[in-house]
C-alpha cells in the first residue's frame, strides 16, 4: 500500500531535564486528512507539535519524515518551506504589529535578510482573508482586535505560505459557536484542497465532528490511533484519561431550601436587562448562553465590579449593593473568574501564598504580621480537602496543571467562607479528568450548604452538574430548564438556535 503520508513520526522521545515528556511516540498523518491529536493537558501534544516544527529537537533515535523528507535538523523556517504551518494555542502573534505585518511575519524569518515589501504583503494578506471569507482592517494594530478576530489572524497567518500540513492547537478555545462553525468549515475546505490538518481540541464533540482519525496520547505515550466513525465522547474521554467518566445528571430538587441570592429586575444598560433569579442554599444553578450574552457582565455586577443601573440584589433576603469586590467578599460572595491565568492567580507566587491571599487580614497577629502557623494550617487544610497534586506548598502556582490551578483558585475563595460562590467557566483549559474532579468538589460544597451559580457555555457541563439551568440570551433570561426533564441535544438546539 503506497498511501501518501504528510507526516510520519517514529519512536519520538523528548526529555526535559530528567522528565520524559514523550516516550517513543509514533504518529502518522495522511495527506489531506483531518487528524485529531487528543490527550489531557501536559500529555505531550504541544511538545510533539514543537518537535515537528523544529522548535525542539527530539532525543536521538527518533525519525521524523515530513512529506517523505527527513526532518533532521528541522528549523521553523525549513518546516515552512516544506509546507508546515502552526496555529499555536496562545496564537504567538505580535500585539503591536498590524494585521498585515502579523500575517506576513513568517517570511521575515529566513536564511538571509531581505527588504520589507509592505504593498506586496498586504495584497497577499487580503487574498488569504478573502479565501477565509473575512474582512479585517489590515493596518489595524493587532491589540485593537477582539480575541476571536486575533484567532482569525493566526489562522490566516498559517495560510499565507503554501501550507500542506497545518497544526491547530486549541483553535476554538476563545471562539463563539458561530465562529467555531466558520472555522470548522475552513478546516473542511482545506482538507478538500489536499491540506492535512492536525487538530487539537478539548471539545470532544468538535473533534468527533471534524476529524477522520484520532490519535490519543496519555502521559507522553501513544494509546492508539482510532477512526472517529463509531467513536463516542465518553469512549474518547476514557482513552484520554485511562479511567471511565460516566457523566450523569446530578440535579436534585432544592425548591424547599431558603434563598441565598435573589435578584429583582437587575439591569445594566447595554449588558443585561430585567434579570430576576434565585439561588438557594445548597443549590447549583447553571447559567448558560452564548459568549457575549451577558453572563460574565451579570456576575461582575453581583460582585461589585460594576454598578447596575436598576433593580435589586438580595443576599439572605437583605438588600445588597456592593460598591467594590471587597464589599462583596465581606458580604459572603466569592467569584472565580473565567480568566484563571491572569486574574485568578498570581502565577510566580507560591501555592501557599495564593491560597491565603484573600484572607490575609484574618491571619494577622497583634503586631500586624502574618502568623505562620495559622497560615500553614489553612494551606494544609485546603490542599488536603481538594487533593491538589503538588510538590510542596512553596512551589510557584505556575508549576501546577490547569486542573490543579483551578483547585487553588477555589481554595483561595472558599477560605473566605462565602455563602454564595459564583463560578465563571471553571473548566476552560482544564482537561477531562480534572473536570470531573472539580465538579465533584462543586457538588460536595453544595451539599455542605453553599449556594453556587455556575456560569458555562458548555451545555453538557450545566446539564450534568446543575440543579436548575437558566438560559440567558441578549442580556435576558429567556428560559429555565430542569436537567432531569431535558437532554443535551434539546438544550443545545435551544441555545444555539
Amino acid at each position: 500500500m503506497t498511501e501518501k503520508l504528510a507526516l510520519k513520526l517514529t519512536a519520538v522521545s523528548k526529555t526535559f531535564g530528567g522528565v520524559r515528556a514523550l516516550k517513543g511516540v509514533d504518529f502518522a498523518v495522511r495527506a489531506g486528512e483531518v487528524h485529531c491529536l487528543a490527550g489531557e493537558n501536559g500529555c505531550g501534544k504541544s511538545t510533539l507539535i514543537k518537535i515537528v516544527t523544529g522548535v525542539y529537537t527530539p532525543d536521538p533515535g527518533a525519525r521524523v519524515e515530513i512529506f517523505g523528507q527527513s526532518g533532521d535538523g528541522m528549523t521553523p523556517a525549513a518546516g515552512r518551506a516544506l509546507g508546515v504551518a502552526v496555529i499555536w494555542q496562545d496564537l504567538a502573534l505580535f500585539p503591536h504589529m498590524s494585521v498585515a505585518e502579523n500575517m506576513a511575519f513568517d517570511d521575515m524569518v529566513g536564511a538571509r535578510p531581505r527588504l520589507v515589501q509592505r504593498r506586496k504583503d498586504k495584497i497577499r494578506a487580503r487574498a488569504v482573508l478573502n479565501r477565509l471569507g473575512v474582512t479585517l482592517d489590515l493596518d489595524a494594530p493587532l491589540n485593537t482586535l477582539p480575541i476571536a478576530k486575533r484567532q482569525i489572524v493566526a489562522i490566516a497567518r498559517a495560510l499565507m505560505g503554501e501550507a500542506r500540513l497545518v497544526f491547530m492547537d486549541e483553535p476554538t478555545a476563545s471562539l463563539t459557536q458561530s465562529e467555531t462553525d466558520a472555522l470548522l468549515d475552513v478546516v473542511r475546505t482545506l482538507s478538500a484542497e489536499g491540506v492535512a490538518v492536525v487538530f487539537v481540541s478539548h471539545r470532544l464533540a468538535e473533534v468527533l465532528d471534524i476529524a477522520e482519525r484520532v490519535t490519543v496520547v496519555r502521559d507522553g505515550t501513544l494509546v492508539g490511533v482510532y477512526p472517529t466513525d463509531g467513536m463516542t465522547q465518553a469512549r474518547l474521554g476514557e482513552l484520554m484519561t485511562g479511567t471511565s467518566h460516566q457523566q450523569q445528571v446530578t440535579a436534585q430538587d432544592k425548591s424547599a431550601a431558603p434563598p441565598v441570592l435573589e435578584t429583582r429586575n437587575l439591569t445594566r444598560h447595554g449588558e443585561f436587562t430585567d434579570i430576576s433569579l434565585t439561588v438557594r442554599k445548597g443549590e447549583v444553578v447553571g447559567l448558560t448562553g452564548l459568549i457575549g450574552a451577558g453572563r460574565t457582565e451579570l456576575a461582575h455586577a453581583m460582585i461589585g465590579m460594576t454598578q447596575p443601573d436598576g433593580g435589586e440584589i438580595l443576599l439572605d433576603s437583605a438588600s445588597l449593593r456592593p460598591r467594590s469586590i471587597r464589599d462583596a467578599i465581606r458580604a459572603g460572595i466569592a467569584y472565580v473568574s473565567e480568566d484563571r491565568l491572569s486574574l485568578g492567580l498570581i502565577q510566580p507566587q507560591s501555592i501557599a501564598d495564593n491560597t491565603v491571599m484573600s484572607v490575609l487580614d484574618r491571619l494577622l497577629n497583634a503586631a500586624g504580621l502574618i502568623k505562620a502557623p495559622s497560615k500553614q494550617h489553612l494551606v494544609d487544610h485546603w490542599i488536603k480537602e481538594f487533593a491538589v497534586k503538588i510538590g510542596t506548598p512553596d512551589d510557584p502556582v505556575s508549576t501546577l496543571s490547569g486542573g490543579n490551578q483551578q483547585r487553588v483558585v477555589l481554595a483561595k475563595w472558599l477560605a473566605t467562607e462565602p455563602r454564595l460562590l459564583i463560578l465563571d467557566s471553571p473548566t476552560v483549559g482544564v482537561d477531562v479528568g480534572a473536570r470531573a474532579g472539580i465538579f465533584r468538589i462543586v457538588r460536595d460544597l453544595a451539599d455542605q450548604g453553599l449556594a453556587i451559580l455556575l456560569i458555562s457555555d458548555e451545555v453538557t457541563e450545566v446539564m450534568h452538574n446543575a440543579d436548575r439551568i437558566l438560559h440567558i440570551a441578549d442580556g435576558r433570561i429567556i428560559g429555565e430548564h430542569d436537567p432531569r426533564h431535558t437532554d443535551v441535544p434539546a438544550l443545545e438546539a435551544r441555545i444555539y438556535a
Partner: protein
C-alpha cells in the same frame, strides 16, 4: 493622515506639542527662531540623538541599556590610546570607535543571553564595571593630548549673516544624520528590523517562528554599542578632550527622550521619528527656558516635570482608547 494618527498617536501628539512650543518661543523671544540658534541646537544635540537611535533599537527588541554612556567614555579612552601613537584619520577613527563600541555592546548581549538575566540588571552591572575600570585606568585624569584630526573643527555648512554672526553645522551633525538614516533603514525596511520588533513584542512567538534569539540580542546591543562608540567619538570632537566622567548620567537623559518619543519599555514599539521628536523636545524646552531667562538651576526640575506630565498623559490617552475598544466589540459579539 487619520491612519498615521492611529498608528503613531504618541509621535503625532509630541509633534503637535513641539510645534506649539516652537511657535510660542518664536513669539516670546526674538532669539529663538534664528539660524544661529537653530544650528547650535542641532549641533549640541547630535550626540544625544546618535545615542537615542541606538537605544531605540534595544528598546524595540524588548531590552534596555543603562551602560551605553559610560561605554562611550570607555571607547573614547581606548580610541585615544590607539591613536596616541598611530596618528590616524576620521575614517580609521569611526571604524575603531564603532568596533570598540560593538565589542562592548556584545559583552552586554552575551551576558544577557548567556545567563538569561534581564537587561536592566546586566547593564547596571556593566555600567559600574565600565565606569570603575575607566576611573581606575585614567585615575580620573582628563586626556588633552589628542590627534589633530580628532580635535579639528569641521563644518559642513557655514553662513555669515549681514550682522556678521556665524551659523554653522558641524561634523557631528552630519554623522548623526547618517546614523539616524541607517537606523531607520535597519528597523523599518529590513526583515532583521521586523524580527527585532517581533522579538520585543512577543519573544516566545518570535522564537517559535524561528527567530534566532541570540542574534537578536547581538544585533540590538551591538547596534547600540556602535552608536555609543560613534557618539563618543563625536562628543570628543566637540569637547576637544576626553573627560572620564563627562558622560556619566547622560544615559537617563537619552532614555527619557526616547521613551518620550513613544518607544515602549516592554519592547515592540518605537520609531526613529519619535526619537528625533523626543530629543528635540527636551532640547528645545531647555533652550527655550534659557532664552526666557529662567535660572539654569531650575532647568532639570522643569524638564523632569515636563517629561513626567508628557509620559503619564500619553498613557492616560492610551487607556481611554483601549477602554473604548473594550466596549466596542460587544454589540458585534451579541449578534454572534
Amino acid at each position: 493622515m487619520l491612519r498615521m494618527l492611529k498608528a503613531n498617536p504618541v509621535e503625532i501628539r509630541l509633534f503637535a506639542v513641539l510645534v506649539a512650543i516652537t511657535i510660542g518661543l518664536s513669539l516670546a523671544t526674538d532669539t529663538f527662531l534664528t539660524l544661529g540658534n537653530i544650528t547650535s541646537l542641532l549641533n549640541n544635540n547630535a550626540v544625544n540623538l546618535i545615542w537615542a537611535v541606538g537605544l531605540l533599537v534595544v528598546l524595540i527588541a524588548g531590552g534596555i541599556d543603562i551602560s551605553f554612556a559610560v561605554a562611550a567614555s570607555v571607547v573614547q579612552y581606548l580610541t585615544a590610546q590607539v591613536f596616541a601613537e598611530l596618528g590616524g584619520n576620521w575614517t580609521l577613527g569611526l571604524i575603531v570607535a564603532g568596533t570598540l563600541g560593538i565589542g562592548l555592546g556584545l559583552i552586554n548581549a552575551a551576558l544577557i543571553h548567556g545567563f538569561r538575566v534581564i537587561s536592566i540588571v546586566i547593564t547596571i552591572a556593566t555600567f559600574n564595571v565600565f565606569f570603575g575600570l575607566l576611573m581606575f585606568l585614567t585615575r580620573g585624569r582628563n586626556i588633552y593630548d589628542l590627534p589633530d584630526w580628532w580635535r579639528a573643527r569641521i563644518f559642513i555648512f557655514e553662513y555669515q549673516s549681514a550682522s556678521g554672526t556665524w551659523s554653522e553645522l558641524n561634523l557631528a551633525f552630519a554623522v548623526m544624520v547618517a546614523c539616524v538614516i541607517a537606523t531607520a533603514l535597519l528597523i523599518s525596511f529590513t526583515s532583521t528590523g521586523r524580527q527585532l520588533y517581533a522579538f520585543g513584542d512577543n519573544p516566545e512567538g518570535a522564537r517559535r517562528a524561528g527567530v534566532n534569539v541570540a542574534l537578536m540580542h547581538a544585533i540590538a546591543y551591538g547596534w547600540m554599542g556602535m552608536m555609543a562608540g560613534i557618539g563618543g567619538l563625536m562628543q570628543v570632537n566637540i569637547a576637544k578632550e576626553v573627560v572620564p566622567n563627562a558622560l556619566y548620567g547622560r544615559e537617563l537623559e537619552v532614555l527619557a527622550a526616547v521613551v518620550l518619543g513613544g518607544a515602549r519599555l516592554g519592547g515592540g514599539r518605537g520609531t526613529v521619528i519619535g526619537c528625533i521628536l523626543g530629543v528635540m523636545f527636551v532640547a528645545i524646552t531647555q533652550n527655550g527656558l534659557n532664552l526666557l531667562g529662567v535660572s539654569p538651576f531650575a532647568f532639570q526640575m522643569i524638564i523632569g516635570a515636563t517629561i513626567l506630565v508628557a509620559i503619564s498623559t500619553s498613557n492616560l490617552k492610551l487607556d481611554l482608547r483601549s477602554l473604548r475598544q473594550r466596549r466596542l466589540p460587544e454589540p458585534e459579539k451579541r449578534n454572534a
